[in-house]
């Protein structure tokens, strides 16, 4: 992958140089901009999953494109116990009933589009699903020290550019979420993501690597690709009302504790 990346960069650089020579002064301006230090791809806009195997999360679609996570025996055992309780009719998750914030990376695997905003010093992702905006700081700051790190739904994210790839490092999750491929997100889980435009900017590749020795036997890596939404796309709001009896009834069997 690195070799391909380097090759593409060289082609672009050579192309820009030749074009500038051919166009004279006006081309020189273009060259100066293209070769300016810190010049980075523009990732902004709405992005949506439209996987070749189908969109959305349901029906095991993600299992077709995401490898299964290698989990520790403790997590495997906990998953089995949870599955057994579910098999006996117990509702083990109440997030939908109570409209709890969707924990990262839920919106990245959802079929709903998300909107990426970009400046030189920050990237912000705004999702349609029920969660907080995600802030990725590009200004060189570090993660807060563990004593000052406040766990959040989206964690604390810092990023930097490696050529045309945005590398994002995230810690500080509240814990309790899940990843595609059957992984889990804990309070000490570490996530590395690599965002890169592909197909001339029509698609965005995001390679995610989850690490946590208490959860994974080895780093859990997968790639999801997103299509650039059509120009004119606008944001929706996914509302959720925990006080709506229909919302409760959708997931909670009669006689449940909550």
């Amino acid at each position: 992958m690195n070799q391909r990346f380097s090759s593409a960069s060289v082609k672009r650089g050579a192309g820009a140089a030749l074009l500038a020579l051919a166009l004279g002064a006006s081309g020189s301006v273009l060259l100066a901009q293209s070769a300016a230090p810190g010049k980075v791809p523009d990732l902004s806009g709405f992005w949506e999953r439209r996987d070749d195997v189908g969109g959305g999360n349901f029906g095991g679609i993600l299992e077709k494109i995401v490898p299964k996570a290698s989990l520790t025996p403790e997590v495997v055992k906990a998953n089995q116990e949870t599955a057994a309780r579910q098999a006996q009719g117990e509702v083990v998750a109440f997030g939908s009933k109570w409209c709890l914030s969707n924990l990262y990376p839920f919106f990245m695997q959802h079929s709903a589009a998300w909107d990426l905003f970009q400046t030189q010093t920050e990237i912000m992702q705004a999702a349609e699903v029920h969660t907080f905006p995600r802030h990725i700081y590009l200004d060189g700051r570090k993660h807060p020290s563990p004593a000052r790190l406040v766990p959040t739904v989206n964690g604390h994210s810092i990023g930097h550019w490696e050529g045309d790839t945005l590398v994002v490092d995230t810690v500080g999750f509240v814990g309790g979420g899940g990843t595609p491929g059957g992984g889990r997100v804990g309070k000490n889980t570490h996530l590395t993501e690599r965002f890169k435009l592909i197909d001339g900017g029509k698609k965005l590749s995001v390679v995610s690597t989850w690490e946590d020795p208490s959860i994974y036997l080895k780093p859990h890596t997968y790639e999801l690709q997103y299509y650039k939404s059509d120009p004119g796309t606008y944001a929706f709001e996914e509302t959720c009302h925990a006080d709506d009896p229909k919302q409760s009834g959708s997931v909670v069997a009669p006689g449940q504790k909550y």
């Binding site: 074009l19 523009d42 109440f94 914030s101 905003f117 010093t121 944001a235 929706f236 925990a242």
Partner: protein, 230 residues
């Protein structure tokens, strides 16, 4: 066009877009705080004073929104600190986020008109389009739902017929941000209701916060619905 030129030109055309240089407009990006002296809010001229019953209904609606963790929406989210403005470097869109649990505001500055009311599903933040008048960002919002907290500073409440105009302008060399809000609503106001917030730029290194909300928290629910002190 000769062939040596064709290849590099095509190469450029198929390359992904690069982040452009900062636009000519003022950069409003950053975290902005409200302080004790940040608000200038006169009383609104309502068409008719709210009846006690109507007033009570609105108070209950907004209290329920907090109790049950609904999206709070506009204008409530603009009254929290810090709000963050993320102004796309490509000039096409601006976002405003808030620490309260509510969707980011999407302000489209690419020249598009409002989404047709025939197709737009009203939202707590409405449908916002913006343009620049000199150094002032003018934002026009319609399409509000009844989701969230409806109260408008100075009196009145957001309705489906509300129309909000905002004028964002940097002051004091970029250390302050003035936002002049003007609400118009034939069902609510006898004349346009205008007030101004002046935010302070937050210190460098300020970060987003998440004031999460858990409707299943029994202690929280009890606190919010009980008589204070009892």
């Amino acid at each position: 066009m000769n062939k040596p030129l064709l290849f590099p030109l095509l190469t450029l055309l198929v390359c992904p877009a690069f982040l452009p240089a900062q636009s000519k407009h003022p950069d409003l990006s950053g975290y902005w705080e409200l302080r004790f002296d940040s608000r200038n809010v006169p009383p609104a001229s309502l068409i008719a004073p709210a009846t006690p019953a109507a007033r009570a209904a609105q108070v209950k609606h907004d209290a329920d929104a907090i109790r049950w963790c609904h999206f709070f929406g506009v204008p409530y989210m603009m009254a929290w600190s810090p709000v963050e403005i993320v102004q796309n470097t490509n000039g096409k869109e601006i976002a405003i986020t808030s620490p309260v649990r509510t969707p980011a505001r999407h302000i489209y500055t690419d020249g598009r008109p409002h989404v047709s009311p025939e197709t737009f599903d009203p939202t707590s933040a409405g449908n916002s389009i913006g343009h620049w008048e000199g150094d002032t960002l003018v934002v026009d919002t319609i399409g509000f739902s009844d989701e969230g907290i409806l109260a408008i500073p100075g009196g009145g409440s957001r309705t489906a017929t509300s129309h909000l105009m905002e004028r964002f302008r940097l002051l004091n060399g970029g250390q302050r941000l003035s936002v002049v809000f003007t609400w118009e609503d034939p069902k609510m106001y006898a004349k346009p209701h205008t007030y101004e917030f002046r935010y302070y730029r937050a210190p460098p290194g300020t970060e987003a916060r998440e004031f999460d909300c858990n409707a299943s928290d029994a202690e929280r629910a009890k606190f919010l619905t009980s008589v204070p002190g009892k």
